[in-house]
Symmetry: C2
């Protein structure tokens, strides 16, 4: 069991109607930048409710809308200008991970003299950030309780993250009813995303971090149980609530305490999103079972067997047959139960950039259960084609 630091200072208000706690934002100042996406929060009434609560609390609200999936650094720069021009005290994100990551980047970039992209290249430059608050409307990235913000630079074709304790939200409001209207494909992709986060933490070479391994298995079982229910019954509160809480706990540190984490599928997928702007969770679903097959061998079989027995309840067989069955079940979950696209060609990606992307991802895949070379990643791309 490795040494670790565990630090989750975000105050979570979870459940129906918790948006009422927006009045607490007054403790962080008087001027708030509200960041959101394409306007679904207006259709759902969340926007009006938030504005009323903020105004009643004496806050002045400035707005930045139009955040897209795979959020772009350009909009972040606009947000930073807005904050500086208007002496903004805090940034409130209402949306999913892209909106929250945009808000985080604005919060850090406002307090940094140079260009915000520098903070992606060197997070140690983050010395301060405006307070970050979130109201979550999509269960997926876990950004509501972690220290990361992922941005895409379309000029450079790079999708990468900045990371700092200063980016941990002060307050996050998690109302599962806000996710009732999330589309089938986004629900499926979000579930794949949180599963991948749990996997990145779970497939660790450390065998004796028993408690956190089991926490990870709890998150995984929750996703496998409730993902399909949420698809079929979009307003099933139990399913939406458990998925929302799973998404937060998949990547807030609780499932990796004591582990040695590799975090390999994400860098590979980030190449796909950076070049092809595909939905992150879809890219992860396509890559993950191929990554699993690629790293399964006599040395790693114990971990897959543990996964198969503890998460999928597979009985009988030897370690290798259990491991292989666990990978089949994972693939079947993504492609049959969640109905996600199963190949890169199905999302319009051909092999022309495999070499380029494999070379770019490899340096970020050097830890964990099995470090990956450029050749390894190329094989995973080819198996995913």
């Amino acid at each position: 069991m490795n040494n670790f630091t565990y630090y989750t200072p975000t105050k979570i208000y979870f459940g129906k109607g918790q948006i009422s706690h927006l009045d607490e934002l007054a403790e962080f100042g008087q001027r708030v930048l509200l960041v959101y996406g394409s306007g679904s929060i207006k259709r759902l009434g969340i926007y009006n409710e938030a504005i009323k609560l903020l105004n009643d609390a004496g806050l002045t609200v400035f707005e930045l809308s139009g955040v897209e999936a795979n959020p772009k650094v350009g909009l972040v720069r606009n947000g930073i200008s807005l904050c500086r021009e208007n002496n903004i005290d805090m940034v409130l994100a209402i949306g999913g991970g892209s909106v929250i990551d945009t808000a985080k980047s604005i919060a850090a970039g406002t307090c940094y003299e140079g260009d915000v992209w520098d903070l992606i290249e060197d997070s140690s430059k983050i010395k301060n950030a405006l307070p970050i608050l979130t109201v979550l409307t999509l269960s997926a990235t876990g950004s509501e309780m972690n220290k990361n913000a992922v941005l895409t630079n379309t000029d450079l074709h790079v999708k990468a993250s900045m990371s700092s304790d200063l980016l941990k939200p002060r307050i996050s409001i998690l109302d599962p009813t806000y996710t009732f209207s999330v589309s089938r494909i986004q629900t499926a992709a979000g579930t794949a995303d949180m599963i991948s986060h749990a996997f990145e933490n779970y497939f660790s070479p450390i065998r004796d971090s028993f408690l956190s391994i089991q926490f990870g298995e709890a998150v995984l079982r929750t996703c496998f149980k409730y993902g399909p229910i949420a698809l079929n019954e979009p307003d099933n509160y139990e399913a939406r609530a458990n998925l929302m809480w799973a998404s937060t706990n998949a990547i807030n540190g609780i499932t990796k305490s004591g582990a040695e984490v590799g975090w390999c599928c994400h860098p590979i997928e980030h190449e796909l999103s950076a070049w092809y702007d595909i939905t992150h969770g879809i890219g992860l679903a396509i890559i993950t079972p191929r990554w699993m097959k690629h790293i399964l061998n006599e040395k790693t079989v114990w971990k897959f067997a543990e996964y198969g027995r503890n998460v999928w309840g597979i009985t009988g067989g030897n370690d290798m047959t259990v491991a292989e069955e666990s990978i089949s079940k994972t693939a079947s979950f993504f492609f049959d139960e969640l109905g996600l696209p199963s190949t890169l060609s199905a999302v319009g990606i051909n092999d022309e950039r495999f070499e380029l992307m494999a070379e770019s991802a490899a340096p970020s895949c050097q830890k964990g259960l099995v470090p990956l070379s450029k050749e390894d990643i190329l094989e995973i791309f080819r198996a995913s084609a």
Copy 2:
């Protein structure tokens, strides 16, 4: 799944050598009150190491030692005087739950004009507290990451708690090697204590808080697996580390998110400790299986069956047989595997105060899976005699 607030701002430094982070205390001021117990931290070398680190960081150290099990309000009052006389900036506890709870009470009491016992009677009076820091040397109470401080008033024969977010430690250092020297009986009692915390959160009437129920089961399986190993191999790092992290997570909120928590065994045990000054974990171990048998019925059997199947891996049988077997296994774990005393008479408690104690505990046992009347508690006492 109920609404909940989840807030764990304590920064945890977990693992070997993490005491080096004591230098970070300088951010909280310059004058620290060090609180500890009977001196075992001197024998173990932790005291010297801490003093050196604190002095090197430019801190001036004042001391309050002599904290006993079931910590007394009298010593807390002494500590408050020390803090006021010396303009103390922060309180550092090095020890187990009793030491930490003493430190917390001093931290709150120093910032309160009246007598500190008022804060037990009405925690809303806690409006401020000195920063609290801890170095844990005993895995049991979870006080290192929660908002509670339990004190005993020997004049009133009352053991009760104050509770406030202001009592959550800023930093807690959890080095499992510090627990290698914990005695057999204290290891067993500490394990029983953390199991009871997990039970209090787990035996909830809410069926659909799936993720947090599984988090609770993970904590329980960890205790059942590693408690006996720690007894037999006191310096087994894997066992001590998993127990330590289980003790923290048993009562930091993660296992009760969305649940409706009763918290019944603790008020009953607090009566025993308040009158007879017995070890808290021993009292809990004696009471718990009798409490389980008392509340098992057709309405609650589903929960015990869930417990038996998911935690103990019991297969076959119907809900009631699984439930009964799960209670037998729990009792056997406490009394056979951990070797704890199994009856009240074995710890010198006879029936003369059963009525008095049952009446006193009942008002605190009115929530959860089965609220308990005075008569219920009397029966539990009699079954434990």
